[in-house]
């Protein structure tokens, strides 16, 4: 595995609107979760050397890692989780945040976005999968 961070297609080629369009066509949990898992498979692999405590975001059920880089005015985020569904959900988050400025990230209504996707529960703080913590960390970094 390369030691280089590779930019994700999410947010760079696949926008949050693309994700919304994609999910508008899916009905039922099976179709939605199949789509989530497929998106997760398209995440760029996070090199192992970045999977250190400094980048780890706590989840009770599963672990996730977040690496952030800011170039000029725009952010790129690199993520990994050890679960398929969280990877997919992280891809959905990055579709909204990658390539954006701090201001745009702060303005973006992530709750509304997840609500439209029918995935509100996945983003709630009570979920122990680390997704909420990743979003909170991104918002903190871009404050």
């Amino acid at each position: 595995m390369s030691n280089q961070l590779i930019n994700n297609v999410f947010g760079n080629e696949i926008s949050s609107d693309d994700v919304l369009d994609l999910f508008a066509q899916q009905s039922g949990w099976e179709a939605r979760y199949r789509q989530i898992i497929l998106l997760g498979k398209q995440l760029a692999a996070l090199p192992d050397l970045f999977k250190i405590e400094e980048h780890q975001v706590d989840g009770c059920e599963s672990a996730a890692w977040l690496v952030a880089r800011q170039q000029d005015d725009s952010w790129q985020f690199y993520v990994a989780s050890d679960t398929r569904i969280v990877n997919g959900l992280l891809a959905i988050v990055l579709a909204a945040y990658n390539g954006q400025s701090s201001e745009k990230i702060q303005e973006f209504d992530i709750e509304e976005y997840f609500a439209e996707l029918g995935l509100t529960k996945q983003l709630s703080p009570s979920r122990s999968n680390g997704l909420h913590a990743v979003v909170a960390e991104i918002k903190r970094l871009t404050l």
Binding site: W29, E30, Y33, R34, I37, C60, E61, S62, A63, D82, T83, R84, I85, V86, Q122, S128, N129
Partner: protein, 413 residues
């Protein structure tokens, strides 16, 4: 023919039992809710909910204080619940039943109060299968007082390694803190034997009964344990209430822990004298509705045919294990000889979190993760398990629905 009739009665009994639990009468994500997470918290039956409502609607007053009739009623119910707990665990006297927020607070109380009597180099013996609540308070104490923590390892099938116990118990062992039933593996520990061995070296024994009290009779005198702790919410009672039972001479010798009102006899700026047991350890206005709710939960439990409930849980346990074993992707974790209402398993090549999320989509509530037992996960070489756990309301239909949803999930992934 006879068998058929018995089955029919069983189904009627199950239906009548489930009807007492309002939470179970709902859909989750469009499917009938299948609740298999009773080891985390049990659902509450109508009589418990009703007792709490009645207290707030008719009897709300502070206890032990006022002369008025509301306070008298509240106090009577509050102290009656203490009698119920004493009977429930066969405590020699009601004064040995101390209310806490839960098992966690009860362990912290013993660790900080009894623990303050321990000295440099004294040893605390725990086990690999302990819940964090029965590890961290002792670690904190060990740091404060330079004590040594030793840990009983497990055998390959997930039981305490009793051969190791005799080596780990030394004349320096002051306290052995051990769970009655593992919250991950369901293993039932040989407490009476452990107590006997511990007493031979002069060590005291604290038993975490959180996973035991709802599923098996507990007799603290027969166990001869020095402390026994449990939480109300894992035995059909409310959250925020628990019990510390202790032997009278130990509780009397222990210094007060948290202090304030209620637990004093006389206060002046030159000094304070403390109340007798149990009030010595109950500062401040207690969780009155919680205590009354717990009393109702014990009345509910004792009204059941507990042998029948135990047998039903054991039949379901065996059935669920047998069904799981038929799925090639599944590995059961632990195979203790005596197992109580809890099954842990892992799925080959899949993360427990993904399985739990997809089961949730199908209305199945089970637990995924380390179950507050990270040292056990380390010992097992796992980063987590899936856990299903039963209560008196769990039915074969629940297990069948779970297995069907699990199969669908495995095909899906």
């Amino acid at each position: 023919m006879l068998k058929k009739v018995t089955n029919l009665n069983q189904e009627q009994n199950n239906a009548a039992m489930r009807a007492q639990f309002p939470v179970l009468q709902q859909q989750a994500n469009g499917y009938p809710l299948v609740y298999l997470d009773s080891a985390a918290t049990t659902q509450k039956p109508d009589p418990v909910i009703e007792a709490i409502n009645v207290y707030y609607q008719q009897d709300n007053a502070n206890v032990h204080r006022a002369a008025h009739c509301l306070s008298a009623r509240a106090t009577q119910k509050f102290e009656h619940a203490r009698d119920l707990v004493a009977q429930f665990i066969n405590a020699p006297s009601r004064e040995q039943v101390i209310w806490t927020k839960g098992a966690t607070e009860a362990i912290n109380l013993v660790a900080q109060s009894y623990g303050s009597l321990l000295n440099l180099g004294d040893e605390i013996l725990l086990s690999t299968m302990e819940h964090h609540a029965n590890i961290v308070p002792w670690q904190q104490l060990a740091q404060q007082r330079d004590l040594v923590i030793r840990v009983i390892p497990l055998t390959a099938n997930g039981e305490l390694d009793m051969n190791a116990v005799s080596e780990l118990l030394t004349e320096r062992t002051r306290i052995v803190a051990i769970t009655h039933v593992s919250n991950v593996l369901g293993s039932v520990n040989p407490i009476a034997q452990l107590v006997k061995m511990s007493h031979q070296v002069g060590a005291k024994v604290l038993v975490d009964g959180s996973q035991a009290v709802a599923h098996m009779p507990v007799d603290v005198q027969a166990l001869d344990c020095d402390f026994y702790v449990f939480s109300g919410h894992k035995m059909y009672g409310p959250t925020g209430i628990g019990v510390l039972y202790g032997k009278t001479e130990l509780l009397n010798a222990m210094p007060v822990w948290q202090t304030g009102g209620e637990m004093i006899k006389k206060v002046s700026f030159s000094g304070t004298t403390f109340n007798a047991l149990p009030f010595k350890f109950e500062p401040g206005t207690p969780n009155i509705s919680g205590v009354i709710g717990l009393g109702a939960a014990i009345e509910f439990l004792t009204s059941l045919d507990r042998v029948a409930i135990h047998n039903q849980e054991q039949v379901l346990l065996a059935y669920a294990k047998q069904q799981l074993e038929q799925l090639s992707e599944i590995t059961l974790i632990g195979s203790p000889q005596e197992q109580m209402a809890v099954i842990s398993f892992v799925v080959k090549g899949e993360h427990h979190s993904d399985i739990a999320t997809l089961l949730d989509q199908q209305g199945i509530a089970i637990r995924a993760g380390h179950h507050c037992a990270m040292p056990l996960m380390d010992a097992l070489g796992l980063n987590g398990t899936l856990r299903l756990s039963f209560g008196c309301y769990t039915t074969k239909q629940d297990v069948d629905a779970f297995i069907t949803a699990l199969q669908k999930t495995l095909e899906f992934l």
